[in-house]
């Protein structure tokens, strides 16, 4: 249990600190690196909860997807100019208000404890291999929504190709 707590607080601290660093860095590439760190730390927490499928999917999809973000940043953003520019954050009041609301929410949940969520009881032993379980649920219980989402993504993909190419 001791080890569990150490690992959890390590990943949680890493995630929060790198999320803060991500929004405060001026250099877009540094921000992207901190975003990767935050996502990896979240993946670590998934792994600790024995959700190894989510852990791997988090890394492949989210962290792998930032690769494209990187390329965009390098290709499209002129970093020297961006670093010298003023930040255009004129919404500090809105941000402060939202932060207050979020803080209040966290405080209430903290006071009420874990019972506030009506969660299932944690399994006593290790979980079943969950790649199969995710697959079963996705392809049997939620088959139609899954297929609709797939078609939506396919349409978006074809749309991107059509818009990017001048001539098909």
């Amino acid at each position: 249990m001791m080890l569990d707590s150490i690992i959890f607080y390590f990943f949680a601290t890493l995630a929060v600190v790198s999320a803060i660093m991500m929004v405060t860095r001026r250099n877009a590439v540094h921000s992207a690196v901190y975003l990767i760190t935050a996502l990896l730390a979240t993946a670590g927490i998934f792994l600790q909860l024995q959700a190894e499928f989510l852990f791997v999917v988090q890394i492949i999809l989210y962290v792998g997807g930032i690769m494209v973000l990187f390329v965009f940043v390098i290709m499209l953003v002129n970093l020297d100019v961006a670093v010298r520019q003023m930040k255009f954050n004129r919404q500090s009041w809105v941000a402060g208000l939202l932060a207050l609301v979020l803080g209040a929410l966290v405080f209430v949940v903290y006071r009420k404890g874990g019972g506030a969520f009506n969660l299932m009881a944690p399994p006593v032993t290790t979980l079943q291999p969950n790649a199969e379980q995710v697959g079963t649920v996705l392809f049997q219980k939620y088959f139609l929504p899954f297929e609709i989402a797939s078609i939506l993504l396919l349409v978006a993909m074809i749309g991107a190709v059509v818009m990017a190419k001048r001539k098909i």
Binding site: M2, L3, N27, V29, H30, V33, I36, E52, F53, F55, V56, V57, I59, I60, V63, G64, M67, V68, F70, V71, I74, M75, L76, N78, L79, D80, P129, N130, A131, R166, K167, I168
Partner: protein, 450 residues
């Protein structure tokens, strides 16, 4: 202390030992793979290769390592120091983490994850961040171009590699590396014989993903000096080098596990028990191979002129004799035999696969970048898709209608072969519109770098 008892740490003891063994031996193995690469290249080009440091260059990797450690480590003045420092570390760490799920034998595996294959894929794709970051942080055009090429190449070829792996996974029915090998053991056939096209597509894509020739555009020395590692020197450069070879071993490990039967010996389903011996005749192969190597080295040693070189060569002979003894001795112990022989066959298969990598490198000229993209998107991905669908249909016929597996797989592969032939002959006309002047117009925003 902290209420941790021995029972708490007991499950971690063997994985930690395995991890230490791998981290300790991998650099040595990589060093000798580079020596093998230089020797094989030399022999293919009718040269001798390294001959000076040790007999037949056997101590060359150690000399190279010392040289790299002592070399000055330079950081360019305008480089992004933090990222420049982080990038090689990221590459090499991710290369090493992937070994956690690689099964070197039935017992010698750090962690048998349920999603082992996905884990290795995820982690090894993270290694590319080291390349892209390093290329960007160097603040040099050659490095940046190498990094961008690497990113584009990864995105293009990972799709094909993933689709090829999925068709292998359909046959295995699991994501755990260990279960995949055990399934092949039970079915009595390696998946490469059921799905040769998946293996072929994965092989080509894995060469591209590890940036090896003929797909080594990110470090093409005739165009980009050394690509993403142009500005690196000394130890950091050697970290990139280590990462590249570690990744090569990982992709070979995936291919060996999924398609080539993992730690199983060749012809595992054939049993030859003669003379009332308690073990298979084919299980004697590892010991015989080592004895053969020892005999060959003895022959080389006797031809050497200098006494000291003879001595080193005879040490190598002694090493091979000891290994042959271990292989023969393990036959008498049923508890150890699967582990030791499994490890032997796994490493041998990996080395043969790596030999294929080297062979490719010395045989094919480097692709141009548009040829590389065309091969990835217009040949490998459509072929992988057709292959996947065909293998899926074949498996459904096996499971639902009870057709024999062999027949459906032959049918699936024939369809894939026809598709491949069609793509080679007509794919170019169908998939590419003729180039016009409009295509060469600059795209808004492109071309501004840093």
């Amino acid at each position: 202390m902290f209420g941790i008892t021995f029972n708490d740490i007991r499950p971690y003891i063997f994985p930690v030992i395995y991890a230490l063994v791998i981290v300790a031996f991998l650099p040595l193995l990589v060093g000798y793979i580079t020596l093998a690469e230089r020797k094989i290249m030399a022999h293919m080009q009718a040269r001798l290769g390294p001959m000076r440091v040790g007999p037949h260059g056997l101590l060359q990797p150690i000399a190279d390592a010392v040289k790299l450690l002592l070399k000055e480590d330079i950081t360019p003045k305008n480089a992004d120091a933090l990222m420049f420092w982080l990038a090689p570390l990221l590459s090499v760490t991710m290369g090493l983490v992937a070994y956690a799920a690689l099964p070197f034998g039935p017992a010698f595996q750090i962690a048998d994850l349920d999603v082992g294959l996905l884990f290795i894929l995820a982690v090894s794709s993270l290694g590319i961040y080291g390349i892209v970051l390093g290329g960007w942080a160097s603040n040099s055009h050659y490095s940046l171009l190498g990094a961008l090429r690497s990113a584009a190449q990864l995105v293009s070829y990972e799709t094909a590699a993933g689709l090829a792996l999925v068709s292998g996974l359909l046959l295995g029915g699991s994501l755990s590396m260990k279960t995949l090998v055990e399934t092949q053991d039970q079915m009595g056939v390696w998946f490469v014989f059921l799905a040769p096209f998946s293996f072929f597509i994965y092989m080509v894509a894995s060469i591209a993903e590890t940036n090896r020739a003929p797909f080594d555009l990110p470090e093409a020395e005739s165009e980009l000096v050394a690509g993403y590692m142009t500005e690196y020197s000394g130890f950091r450069w050697s970290l990139y080098f280590l990462a590249e070879y570690a990744n090569m071993i990982v992709v070979s490990g995936i291919a060996v596990t999924l398609f080539l039967g993992g730690w199983m010996r060749p012809l595992a389903a054939v049993h030859m028990r003669v003379f009332g011996l308690p073990y298979d005749l084919l299980d004697l192969l590892p010991a015989l191979i080592f004895l053969g190597l020892a005999a060959w080295c003895t022959k080389l040693a006797l031809r050497l002129g200098q006494q000291i070189q003879k001595l080193v060569m005879f040490l190598v002979v002694g090493l091979f004799v000891v290994l042959a003894g271990v292989m023969a001795w393990s036959l008498t112990s049923p508890a150890l035999m699967p582990g030791i022989h499994g490890g032997f066959w796994f490493v041998v298969k990996i080395l043969l696969y790596l030999y294929g990598f080297l062979w490719f490198r010395f045989t094919f000229p480097r692709y141009r970048f548009d040829q590389l993209m065309k091969l990835g998107w217009q040949f490998l991905i459509p072929l992988a898709l057709v292959n996947l669908v065909m293998i899926g249909i074949g498996l459904v016929l096996v499971q639902q209608s009870g057709w024999p597996l062999g027949i459906t797989m032959i049918g699936a592969n024939i369809v894939t072969l026809l598709m491949a032939l069609w793509l080679v002959r007509h794919g170019d006309k169908v998939m590419t519109a003729p180039r016009t002047a409009e295509d060469d117009l600059p795209v808004a925003g492109a071309g501004q770098i840093r």
